[in-house]
Symmetry: C2
Subunit: 374 residues, 2 copies
């Protein structure tokens, strides 16, 4: 069992992954800021340019400029000086930081005589259990993802099959890039950004991180994985469907049926108290029994080789995990359920929904049909 996380937390963030800072302080920084969270007493150190917005967006947090902490002028540009001064203002001799806390700030705190515990777990364990307003934000992002999936499916349905099985739409070749652009436009119109939307056909579909490029073809698997982040709330959504233009070859039809059944079984297992590894192990075993074992040969991976699911919230991948890593589902968790099977010689199939864990089981946040042939 992990020890409980107690004590004053220190968080530092720039424009990167600032989800803990946003969760704890309510502030989404553009420039680097420092947040000291002592529970009742909370201090946010911001540069001049962020001052007005931070004051407005963080009621209950003391928002200060570096100069207000008595940092000498020549030190005011040094983020490490902000960190030390902010902790000293809290009059504590020890603090807790996250695994990704910046090394330079860790050293500066230690040099100032402050004991630092580097916490490997979640800085805000409550983040995994979503409040109703957070579920609403995720649902909003998921609504955008579902709208974009409709657009993608419509393009594939409307497409015709040209020479060599290449799809055509509007007199031009239909490529991964074209479908992705239309998906991203729909997401944008829904107030979301999208970076790495996946539209991957054929052998590309067998690499779950290949974004996909070039012409799409009939009779092959086409994986469409859409994960938008809402620009205002910063919460994410995540959905994947796999399509085949025209009748699928029997091997692909079998692959799809197997993944669809696996997803239904995983969804049926979702409830508070169930262990992540129990769900993941069941899926892995089911795939093996169906004749799809995980294998690695000459650096080529086949079968099912990613987790069954992951938490979704202020990050696209967050706690809890549904994989071999120990975890227990609880009411309020929002997780993806996304088994997949991959084989570079066949293609890849992944079916993914984002669900809320409730006492009555998995509640799919926005449903979307599972149709292979289009």
């Amino acid at each position: 069992m992990a020890k409980e996380l107690t004590g004053t937390k220190v968080l530092v963030e720039g424009a990167g992954q600032c989800s803990d800072l946003l969760y704890g302080s309510g502030f989404h920084p553009v420039d680097p800021v420092v947040f000291v969270d002592g529970g009742r007493r909370r201090t946010l150190v911001v540069p001049m340019l962020e001052y007005g917005r931070a004051k407005l967006e963080c009621p209950g947090v003391r928002v200060v400029l570096p100069e207000e902490l008595g940092i000498p002028k020549e030190q005011r540009r040094r983020l490490a000086a902000w960190v030390v001064a902010a902790v000293q203002a809290h009059r504590v001799k020890q603090v807790v930081v996250g695994a990704f806390f910046p090394a330079a700030m860790l050293r500066a705190l230690e040099e100032a005589g402050i004991a630092v515990t580097v916490w490997a777990g979640a800085m805000y364990p409550d983040r995994a259990r979503k409040r109703p307003d957070e579920v609403a934000h995720i649902t909003q992002a998921q609504r955008a993802a579902v709208a974009a999936m409709h657009t993608a499916e419509a393009m594939l349905r409307t497409a015709t099959v040209g020479r060599g099985g290449v799809l055509r739409l509007g007199g031009r070749v239909l490529s991964s890039e074209r479908v992705r652009e239309e998906i991203d436009l729909v997401l944008l119109r829904h107030g979301c950004t999208a970076r790495d939307t996946i539209v991957a056909g054929g052998a590309q579909a067998a690499d779950p991180h290949d974004r996909g490029h070039g012409p799409l073809r009939a009779g092959t698997t086409i994986v469409v994985d859409i994960f938008p982040q809402h620009k205002q709330s910063h919460y994410w959504g995540d959905i994947t469907r796999t399509f085949c233009k025209g009748p699928p070859p029997p091997a692909l039809a079998a692959l799809y049926r197997t993944v669809k059944t696996a997803q239904a079984r995983a969804l049926a297992m979702i409830r508070p108290g169930v262990k992540g590894p129990a769900i993941h192990g069941m899926i892995a075993q089911f795939f093996e029994e169906q004749g799809y074992p995980m294998t690695v040969k000459d650096g080529v991976v086949r079968g099912f080789f990613h987790g069954t699911g992951h938490g979704v919230g202020l990050e696209i991948h967050e706690a809890p995990s549904i994989s071999t890593v120990d975890s227990t589902l609880a009411a309020g968790h929002v997780v993806t359920v996304e088994p997949g099977l991959y084989d570079p010689d066949l293609g890849g199939v992944r079916i993914e929904d984002t669900v809320l864990v409730t006492e009555r089981g998995a509640k799919i946040l926005r449903s979307y049909p599972r149709r292979f042939e289009v």
Copy 2:
């Protein structure tokens, strides 16, 4: 003078700001990866899902899975174990990490008996001097930004002035949100993402980080700041123009003239060997002489209170800075030149271009007219 950075570098990144890792390894990770850069010998540790892509995208780098480093099975999920094993595989006893290296990995290296220097400066100092292919990537992003600026200006020009000075377009109120959406659509069509496009009118224009919201009005300053990142190259562009619908009040016209003159003076000073603080100090002094000193009263800042410019590349803000921070421009630097004046009672004006520093002075990467009244 800073000491020179030598020795084996260690970089760890997830989906965040991974520009150094991308620069050093050629790889843009989705999931966390570890990169050990010993100069001639370079190792990238990636999870299974990134393996194929990393092999393809990183010629000259040894791409390995955690299991290939002899990490015991129960440790293979721990990124800290990857870091230690990768460094040990290089047979070095000391390494250099950046200021934002994760604290947990620093502790793990120390516990493994490896001496760690936390380097406050740039991990890849060469990053500031852009190669021709990098300039081409930035220019590509800047081309998207300029196209989007044309769209924004056209919307403001085409708009009519309704009751209370509120702008209208196509029978509806013209808001910051509407202009921003059209800007972001243009950027998307150019293969770029945009997160925090600024379209801020009136008092909102006086806060350089306010993205802007609500109806736009005639006779007020409207700041449009567009900074797209190209999705394929990951390089950024950055441009700002300030507009006024209809004739500007004399105080705003004077504000605009002053900023426009300041920008022209700053651009004229750009050349290799010139100090950032010399340019910035000149601008600050010019504004003060023109009757626009920087003041803070009741938490409200007026005048010119941000840097004159910043480097642009794989990050939107990178070295060199043109501000009070010591820096010297060199041929190949790509920097913004963006003086601004702000007053919540008047509005805000900022004019920004992204330029390449050449022996013959500043070369604006994509030009765009400076027209205030539209």
